[in-house]
Subunit: 770 residues, 2 copies
């Protein structure tokens, strides 16, 4: 893996801190200092305006525009949807003696910014030396509320060092910002009204140009120093121009609160959207930023209580893992059933704001064990978009539900047909997610009401998309791309086939269970879907005859038909300058080697871990690991977890290092485009499943903890059937304790352990695997 850290931030256990301003790293920092609250997100850009390299990004979950495509053939999508860059609700301009602050031109000192994991506040501070000789200390603080999803807040604190007098401030809501990828603004304004200098200061209703998604924004300001406030209006802007009266050495505070309400093609009239937006905005009248800050602190205190990971002896990774947990929680926490997580969260335009199978495969475990409500909400997204998946299946001449490989609202939005038509593994990832969620959380109502319907429709798709091998007499998938995207179009991809087999088996298990436990509900569902008993027996036959290519003499699963004959390449011999291969190799060349992009066989060995022997895992790891390029940010963690399991502890630690600090140290050199939000979830898995040795795919939770050599101890917390379990691992022992909830039984090193409030301690087994 030709990856190297680019360290420039301060190491701190509870914050990200940047000292000094580096224009070349401006966009990287903007990504890292992003804030979000699931409903909306905003990059860490300079709200006062910045003439240098910046991506002024402000996003709302699921708010999309549409692009038409010149599709050649049937079954290839003809349009795609993407997250649209929206309102700059932090818009601010600060002018002293005719000079407007802009860090690309102005003189300043003592620049420092900080993202605090315990307060959820992003703070920037510096001292401005104006051309007229004035010295003004400035602090910009902002938050997006975790408790009031539509509300964001901004505080500007000003201390004039060597003068008294006024500064000019312009503040407002700017709907004219560019969507960078499209090179244009994607909003039209439906209505706007100015306000007053105290209380509501202006509101605006905008709509996306082609899709008519709407966004109502309003803002209020508060400061004791405001004078001469004048409303301002431009075509796509509403704001206030005002003066702040400053007194030398005294702190002046200016607060701005905003309320943003989205409307995603609900069919409501503009009038209705305006009215409900206005009603929500009324809350700003009685709210203060101090209150919001206090709520935010409380919220985060609770998060760390139930979800913190502590690492003793490794400050870098301590900071890294908390950054990951902070991002996961702020990006998604399940307050809005049916939202999803884009590959970059709400931190940039890259990947167009689209969600992939990462959601179920990498993020879901974190939420299952930390916030089951969020896990359920993610599955709910798939249920809500079942109609689009049914439609998509028809487009590709199949039945049932074909879930999109990339989507913002449930419609397929990947414009590369080779991915959107050949990658089938979102459906099985959803089925696995349902299975995993139900196993750990025990949420039968959701399974029966919504999960089962998805399982049945996904199984229908997998039946109609699969085929029988003429020579093998076995069932499987032809013309597919598995998780390993370096094998573009293959037959009988082992991952796809194996997961399809498990899908059919789980669907049948749920069907049996519903017939037994909720016969009426089952009967209604079966009737609604026109389900025939023959379909069930057909799925059984397919599961029983699924082709899982394997070399029995070595125990190695063949990634797809013919993989073992693929021409060999020594990946260590590929020059570092050839990476990323997508940019430097001819497109077709990438797909002709025994070189893989990310785990494929190893992926199902991890997901269904307990179905495979240690010897099988070792054989497959040893076969595939040297062939893996890890040209996906999701890849190293899977290797790390399996390496830990088979006793390759140094390798496990090596792969782990990329995960926690992937963005903080910009390992992939593309953090400027946004955070690797979904990959971040793998960092959590790395510790809990990797070093903690947790396995959750069997009847009981298992733990097989080890401790990396550089660490003196580490601990993590998980929620398992309403019980919060704290696990602490030192060099000598493993201690487990139920912090909240009833006692539960788990297995540690193969022995049953009752974990209760008093806790239980087991000697650490280090070194070799069980």
């Amino acid at each position: 893996m030709p990856k190297a850290a680019d360290r420039y931030l301060q190491v701190d256990p509870w914050a990200v801190i940047e000292e000094g301003f580096d224009p070349a790293r401006s966009r990287v920092s903007e990504s890292i200092f992003s804030l979000s609250n699931e409903y909306m997100g905003v990059r860490g850009y300079a709200e006062e305006g910045y003439g240098g390299d910046t991506l002024l990004g402000s996003y709302f979950n699921g708010l999309f525009e549409q692009m038409e495509l010149a599709a050649h053939y049937k079954g290839i999508i003809r349009s795609l949807r993407y997250m649209v860059n929206s309102v700059d609700w932090l818009y601010t301009r600060l002018t002293v003696d005719g000079e407007t602050l802009d860090l690309s031109k102005s003189k300043f000192t003592d620049y420092r910014r900080k993202l605090d994991f315990r307060t959820g506040l992003y703070t920037r501070e510096f001292t401005w030396h104006t051309n007229s000789g004035k010295i003004l200390k400035l602090r910009f603080e902002r938050l997006v509320s975790m408790t009031r999803a539509q509300v964001g807040g901004q505080r500007i604190t000003l201390v004039p060092v060597n003068f008294s007098g006024k500064v000019q401030l312009r503040t407002g809501l700017d709907f004219s910002i560019l969507h960078e990828d499209q090179g244009k603004n994607l909003w039209r304004v439906i209505r706007k009204t100015p306000g007053s200098a105290q209380g509501l200061a202006g509101s605006l209703l905008g709509a996306t140009l082609t899709t008519g998604n709407r966004l109502y924004s309003a803002f209020a300001v508060h400061s004791d120093q405001i004078a001469n406030a004048v409303p301002e209006e431009e075509e796509k802007y509403i704001g206030l121009a005002l003066e702040l009266q400053l007194e030398q050495g005294k702190e002046a505070v200016f607060d701005k609160l905003v309320s943003n309400v989205t409307d995603k093609q609900t069919g409501r009239s503009d009038e209705e959207v305006w009215t409900s937006g206005s009603e929500a905005a009324d809350a700003l009248n009685s709210l203060t930023l101090d209150e919001l800050m206090e709520e935010q602190r409380t919220y985060w205190a609770h998060v760390w209580e139930t979800s913190d990971i502590q690492i003793e002896g490794d400050p870098d990774n301590q900071q890294g893992i908390r950054f990951c947990i902070f991002q996961l929680v702020q990006t998604y926490h399940g307050d809005h059933p049916g939202f999803n997580i884009g590959a970059k969260g709400l931190t940039g335009e890259a990947y167009r704001g689209l969600a992939f199978w990462d959601t179920e495969s990498y993020c879901l475990p974190f939420y299952i064990f930390n916030n089951p409500k969020a896990a359920k909400s993610l599955l709910e997204f798939r249920y809500q978009s079942l109609p689009q998946a049914l439609e998509r299946a028809k487009e590709v001449d199949c039945e049932g539900a074909f879930y999109p490989i990339a989507t913002i609202d449930g419609t397929e939005s990947c414009d590369l047909w080779q991915h959107s038509n050949l990658q089938l593994h979102v459906g099985t990832a959803i089925a696995y997610g349902l299975w995993h969620y139900e196993k750990i959380v025990g949420d039968k109502p959701f399974l029966y009401e919504k999960g089962a319907e998805m399982l049945l429709q996904i199984s229908r798709f997998y039946r109609t998309r699969g085929q029988w091998g003429q020579k093998s007499g076995q069932f499987g998938y032809y013309g597919v791309m598995g998780p390993d995207e370096f094998q573009l179009m293959v037959n009988n991809n082992a991952y796809t086939n194996y997961m399809a087999k498990k899908l059919f088996e789980y669907t049948l298990e749920v069907a049996e269970e519903m017939k037994r436990e909720v016969p009426q509900q089952w009967a209604e569902l079966a009737e609604r879907l026109g389900l025939q008993e023959e379909e069930l027996s057909e799925w059984r036959r397919l599961a029983d005859h699924m082709k899982i290519p394997k070399d029995d003499s070595t125990g190695v699963y063949e990634e797809h038909d013919g993989f073992f004959d693929m021409p060999h390449i020594e990946i260590q011999d590929i020059p570092v300058t050839d990476f990323p291969l997508y940019s430097n190799w001819s497109y077709d060349r990438i797909y002709r080697y025994d070189m893989i992009k990310q785990p494929d066989v190893l992926m199902f060995l991890l997901l269904h871990n307990q179905s495979f022997s240690l010897e099988e895992k070792r054989a497959n790891y040893e076969f595939y690991e040297p062939k893996t390029i890890h040209e996906s940010s999701l890849s190293p963690s899977v290797h790390s977890i399996l390496a830990a399991e088979i006793g390759r502890h140094e390798e496990a630690y090596k792969f782990f290092e990329f995960a926690t600090r992937l963005d903080l140290d910009n390992y992939n050199r593309n953090t400027r485009e946004g955070l690797h939000t979904t990959s971040i979830a793998a960092a959590w898995m790395n510790i809990v499943y990797g070093f903690g040795g947790m396995r959750s795919d069997g009847p009981e939770l298992l733990f097989q903890p080890t401790i990396p050599e550089p660490w003196s101890s580490y601990s993590f917390r998980i929620t398992y059937r309403d019980t919060v379990i704290a696990v602490q691992v030192t060099k000598d022992e493993v201690r487990m304790q139920a912090l909240e909830g009833e006692a539960v039984t788990v297995q540690v090193y193969g022995h049953s352990c009752r974990v209760d409030a008093a806790g239980v301690t087991v000697a650490l087994k280090s070194g070799q695997p069980a």
Copy 2:
């Protein structure tokens, strides 16, 4: 094959005749009545203007525009070039009493048009009944000169039936016509000058908008009836408005001659192009249309003398095969070394005027055996575009020459990466063409001067694009699409591998021969190309270790690794309404069956026919034929030829029927877009290789004639090493005679026969194969 004839033309042995005008078939007829002379081509549109469905198409060989593409990845082309619709040099408007003739509005009777294979003339005639009650008989004739490539001629003959008086005529050169696929005109005018009513009547120099290809056009008119001629000019038009004085019952004749000179990015100044165009146009002053017509008759008489095919007892196919020969000769005859043949010749915009491997694989044999100069010219095209092929190889990270799958000027112009990056078989088709050409024509100088260089560079490409199978230990091609485009991305396509093996072997053979025969020339070539002896021995090693997948127990070659396991589909069970599959099946679905689009294994069994036993051919035919959809117009003929060889005579005749009348009966329902010019060549192969049983891939020419049941006799003529051989096959015997040139020895039914001027007769062996 769900194909059915749509017969509406008259059957005639020497012409295509349409009686009555069918607006719904307007475009089909425009294609069928196309004229061309290799240099330029013009569809059979109504030159007087037509308000109904028409594609006014006028094309010049190799004159192109360029389109930029939004390419995603390295190695995928970023622009493409296509044949541009050019000047309407037939532009005519005829007005009587204020009514302008337009067959979509005017009243007319006795409509008839004819394309005469012996005169090369396209004639349209009808009687116009004007709204004012006048009756005017009209005949429009046109030709493009086979002897003077830049010259075209038009004659309008008018007979006023019930009046004397004048008609208004506008005539000129119109550069404003639309390129339909782009929906716009692609020309700008550099310069234009009006002329006079006798002699040169106007000239115009145009250039394509983005590529700057230039076209100089001039016209002259002649008629004894011209009066009141006035020059006319519009932005992209130059012409004359004039009156013709008509006398009741008397024939009036108006002639127009044009001279069109193209300049394809030669770097010459506009002034130089104008001057040389003007000089060429001077010839129009001393030329008459009668002379041109006479030259044209002489030209075609000679063609039929050396290339005619006669069929007794089958007027439909008699007409069909002559139509094919007429099209092949008028489209290409090698007067301009380095021209190529677009898939639709010069008869429409479809396939963008691009040339494919059809040129070498389907057309070349016709020219080799009828007009070796034309065959050489086609190979010359590839030599001239060697620089682009070298460049393209680099783009895909290879060495040597990667010839384009679709091109107008040598640059790859197929915008589907899966075809342009995965289809490798143009290079081997060129090598095969060189081999075949040299074997039959014996042109060693061309082989040594140009052919060898191509072979060496193509071999370099095939070395660097190929890889070693890790398990098989054999060499082959991974990630390719063979001729069968229903298997999109496969490993070790048997055709690709087999033809690569033959390529290496032939290249080495030529290298040995040159070392022996022309050592100095070889040394210079090797030095110029930096050729190392090790390269030659490496090619030997690759040829010796080439993987040719085959089931030895059945003798069936496996189309690619894993083909025998591809899911089976009964192609007879596919509903007729599903065709063409590209339009009605999801794109990805097409590629998941043991269903093939066109011959792949059978193709190399045909090309290297004598390298395979009859049993092998039978086994492979019987295996692949029932799996073949023939969703390529090139497909049935290959099956027909092999069916004849293995004694399936009825099947051979069934497949043959599509070939000769493919366009006349619009079998594929898309003749409106243009003729299947390259497929037409397969009709010739069908008779000569199929029923004639000729084989030309061994040391001697072989013949194994059979005669289809419905025929009483047939004959064909071929040129073999300067000797014109006439072959006549009756129900009882085969007669061969040398019409021109020295006696030659061939094999008939496995016995040597000396064919001289006196001729030789052999009893027909019918029924079973040898």
